[in-house]
């Protein structure tokens, strides 16, 4: 008897078969990982299971404990014990933590909320996820990791029988990931079934009992964890063997392009708190400089500040190609030859409703305009060229960026910044949330750019990526660089040790 069976699920969108006779069977008290590239159909399958795509819009059968079910909406699925933790945070920032946890399931009599009951229950669930905050706090005042834990508390509060987690650790620190793993193991003992979606295979192998791999909307197979290893799962996901996951190229970096001396940045909210404390570093032509560190170490703040995009006060010298520059705004940064690919492409990188073409030319309008009038032909020449060079998979240049997959969206972000002809390209988490195949292409592209003489700074939380791609690695901790490593001597252990404050 399975806790959940999804049998021959087929779902079509206009023109695309998103799912093709997919099968998924989950036992009671089992952690079942669902792996696949972006666009493989994982999210679509989970949206069907959680009632977001109602019965009738797909074919196939959902059975809970052997009984056939049809969900018309989210409430129906919740009644059957299915709860989903979404990839994108689904919290209301203006409301309190307790209200968010019980949103839609408020403890109420005749529609009148029992506030004390709610805060009491909320405090219990917060404790269960190891979050030491007041349930009265507004969610907007919490950090991303804390918000993710609130989201998990919200799911637990629904007493789910089947819990779906879609990339739950994307925003969590190591300690928070450990807390989550602990929670899931406890739930497993209590007989809750979990469906765990993650790009991080190390987590999958640490946690899951079984692994189902999806590819192009079809089930490749379901495996016992002990029967497969990471490489095998990756090759099943992409359908080919990735002989070289990180395409390392030996390079000899040339002259210094960017030099930062004694750079200090103050917090945007607390004017006397330093987020970056007297750092100095340099990047050379044709070099990939990896910046590692824990969340909150100040990596993103440093990069944003160099790009003129951080609101906090700053002090220090920035030199580009031997000349000192004063960067007061993003315009200044672009003109000095700095480009930044932000960590959150949907919020900061793209105008999702605008087309591939329009997004590409957005920061480059001056380049293709005369007297303030855009030369469309010239613009298309550029956008066509970049789409081709970056192998962006898009139906046309007029397609809204929002409808592309994560990897292709990231390519459009890269295109728009490459068009500014940057001397220094800053990449903040360049492969977050994109699939293995697209990752590989982006790594290749980084190598190409370095070859052509661009200085690349890559901020990344994925240690294998930092190790695999960087020529040199700087480790940041509490606003300072605490360690510099050559890629030949660097190991995960050395980086982590430095990042947590050891030597």
């Amino acid at each position: 008897m399975y806790a959940l069976e999804m049998v021959n699920i087929t779902k079509e969108f206009p023109g695309v078969k998103a799912l093709d006779r997919v099968n998924l069977k989950v036992k009671k008290g089992e952690i079942h990982a669902l792996c696949g590239e972006n666009g493989a159909g994982k999210s679509t399958l989970m949206k069907i299971l959680s009632g977001l795509y109602p019965a009738g819009t797909y074919s196939g059968e959902i059975r809970i404990l052997g009984e056939k079910k049809e969900f018309r909406n989210i409430k129906d699925a919740e009644k059957a014990g299915i709860t989903i933790i979404h990839q994108e945070l689904a919290l209301v920032k203006e409301l309190s933590v307790a209200e968010n946890i019980f949103l839609g399931t408020e403890p109420a009599r005749y529609g009148v909320i029992s506030w004390d009951e709610m805060y009491y229950q909320a405090a219990k669930w917060l404790k269960a996820v190891g979050l030491d905050i007041s349930p009265h706090r507004k969610v907007g005042t919490l950090g991303i990791g804390q918000q993710q834990l609130v989201e998990i508390a919200k799911a637990l509060a629904k007493n789910a029988e089947i819990l779906i987690l879609d990339e739950p650790t994307a925003a969590l620190t190591e300690t928070e990931v450990d807390i989550l793993m602990g929670i899931l193991e406890r739930l497993r003992k209590e007989g809750v079934s979990c469906i765990y979606i993650s790009h991080k295979l190390s987590e999958v192998f640490r946690l899951a009992d079984k692994i189902t791999v999806l590819r192009d909307g079809q089930t490749v197979g379901t495996f016992q964890k002990t029967d497969v290893d990471e490489d095998r799962v990756i090759s099943l996901m992409v359908g080919r063997n990735l002989t070289e996951y990180y395409p390392r190229v030996e390079r000899t970096p040339k002259e210094t392009v960017l030099e930062v001396k004694n750079y200090t940045v103050w917090d945007k909210e607390q004017a006397n708190k330093k987020v970056i404390d007297h750092v100095s570093f340099a990047v050379r032509k044709g070099e990939i400089l990896g910046i590692a560190g824990l969340m909150g170490a100040g990596r993103t703040e440093l990069m944003l500040s160099l790009f003129g995009a951080y609101p906090g006060r700053k002090e220090g010298e920035v030199w580009i190609e031997g000349k000192q520059v004063k960067i007061k705004s993003i315009r200044d940064a672009i003109q000095s030859g700095i480009a930044l690919v932000s960590e959150d492409r949907k919020r900061y990188g793209l105008v999702l409703e605008m087309s591939v073409h329009d997004n590409t030319i957005l920061p480059n309008l001056a380049q293709i305009s005369k007297w303030g009038i855009i030369d469309e032909i010239k613009g298309y020449k550029h956008s066509t060229q970049y789409a081709k060079e970056l192998k962006t998979k898009t139906p046309s240049l007029e397609t809204p960026v929002g409808s592309l997959s994560g990897g292709n969206q990231q390519k459009v972000v890269l295109a728009k910044w490459l068009m500014t002809k940057p001397k220094v390209l800053i990449l903040d988490e360049p492969t977050r949330g994109i699939d293995v195949g697209a990752k590989y292409e982006i790594y290749h592209l980084m190598n190409q750019l370095a070859e052509q003489g661009t200085a690349i700074i890559m901020v990344s939380s994925e240690l294998p990526e930092v190790l695999g791609m960087s020529d040199r690695i700087l480790v940041m901790s509490e606003g300072r660089f605490v360690k510099e490593l050559d890629h030949r001597e660097a190991t995960q252990e050395k980086i982590m040790q430095a990042a947590v404050g050891g030597k």
Partner: protein, 394 residues
């Protein structure tokens, strides 16, 4: 499990201080609004000796009643991320309906009120349906409503003014409570506050939360009692509490309750704060949205009955621009047009600010054009200062 319980208790216990402890959860922006209001009152009091007399204050509260009732409905609409531009025309139309029913058909007052409220609610239902299920932006639906309802009113009345003669109807806008009854109401209100403070205390104790020292709770009751008694005595010094103002108080309390104590109200805040999150939490967004417009239509009809009674007639331009006064009151009172935040209490203060400006400037004999300019500048200034102060805090 004793330690766990203890930890939960600590987590839940808030340690508010000073004035915040006294007045509770009314946010800091409300205090600045009250401060602004007091400054405006003192200023007009200095400039004109009659402004702060019981007689004029009584007038002020009558004047603010229509705008306030519209603003109360508007707050929730704006919080949900919508807007209702039609309420002014709706006041005109439902006022016309009430006058026709009372004068031309000679219906008794209860029937007039019932049918008028029903008309307001039905029109709200139609607009709400178009916004929620038709997915037409509220701005467009209600802009259309603003024009169309005014047109219906003109057609229905042939462009004439319809006077109302039913003395019972005229009482609604013109009557005052006797001083004795006013004092009775004050006593009732104070008992209600005392009960609610006590009830809250008991509930917190039941869940094992820390409670504030008894002295603070008593200070809270005394504080509100003083305000209520001062208000009633001031009104009694003229004739008594004006009848229309009671509607304001009743609806304000009712909607404050709906906004803060019911699932419906919190869902509205969630929808305005993050519609995706609300949807993924299984909140029926369309139904909630539609009901909001029904409530707004209903309140417009209430306002129309009061206005018609006060003017003892329904005119074709009754209620013109009232929607903008209501929106201004909400915004001055701290409601964000981005949705997700705003309070009924704030909107009332906002309405009082707007009405005080009207009243004071008229007393001073300021020319109409100046009145418009001053009100416009104050609106932008109030919101500008608010945004500035929040930026500074952040």
């Amino acid at each position: 499990m004793a330690s766990t319980e203890g930890a939960i208790k600590d987590q839940v216990t808030q340690k508010p201080n000073g004035i915040k402890q006294l007045i509770g959860q009314i946010d800091i922006r409300a205090y600045t609004m009250i401060g602004t209001l007091i400054i405006i009152w003192l200023l007009f009091g200095l400039l004109h000796e009659t402004f702060l007399t019981p007689r004029n204050l009584s007038n002020l509260f009558i004047q603010m009643s229509v705008t306030s009732i519209l603003a109360i409905g508007m707050v929730l609409i704006i919080v949900a991320g919508h807007i209702d531009l039609s309420v002014g025309s709706l006041v005109g139309l439902t006022g016309g309906i009430a006058a026709v029913l009372s004068t031309s058909y000679g219906l008794p007052l209860w029937a007039v009120i019932l049918i008028t409220l029903l008309a307001g609610a039905l029109i709200g239902l139609l607009q709400g349906w178009l916004v929620a299920y038709g997915a037409i932006p509220a701005f467009i639906v209600t802009l259309g409503g603003m024009m169309a309802f005014r047109g219906v009113l003109l057609g229905m009345t042939n462009g004439t003014t319809i006077s109302v003669s039913d003395p019972a109807f005229l009482m609604i806008g013109d009557a005052y409570f006797t001083p004795e009854f006013g004092l009775f109401l004050a006593a009732l209100a104070i008992s209600a506050i005392a009960y609610s403070v006590w009830h809250k205390r008991r509930s917190r104790l039941k869940y094992g939360f820390d409670v504030q020292p008894m002295s603070i709770d008593i200070a809270k009751i005394v504080f509100f009692s003083v305000i209520i008694i001062a208000f009633v005595l001031t009104m009694n010094a003229y004739i008594g509490i004006p009848f229309p103002f009671i509607f304001v108080v009743l609806f304000a309390l009712l909607f404050h309750f709906i906004a803060n104590q019911t699932s419906f109200g919190r869902h509205v805040y969630a929808i305005g704060g993050n519609v995706e999150a609300a949807r993924l939490s299984g909140i029926p967004i369309q139904r909630r949205t539609m009901i909001l417009f029904v409530l707004s239509g209903l309140l417009a009809a209430v306002a129309a009955i009061i206005l018609t009674s006060r003017l003892s007639s329904a005119t074709t331009n009754a209620g013109t621009m009232y929607e903008l006064d209501a929106i201004a009151a909400c915004v001055i009172g701290g409601t964000s047009l981005m949705g997700g935040s705003g309070t009924i209490f704030g909107a009332l203060i906002g309405a009082l600010v707007m009405t005080s400006l009207d009243n004071g400037m008229s007393l001073l004999g300021l020319e109409t054009f100046w009145q418009y300019i001053v009100k416009g500048v104050i609106l932008v200034l109030a919101v500008g200062l608010d945004i500035l102060s929040r930026k500074k805090k952040a």
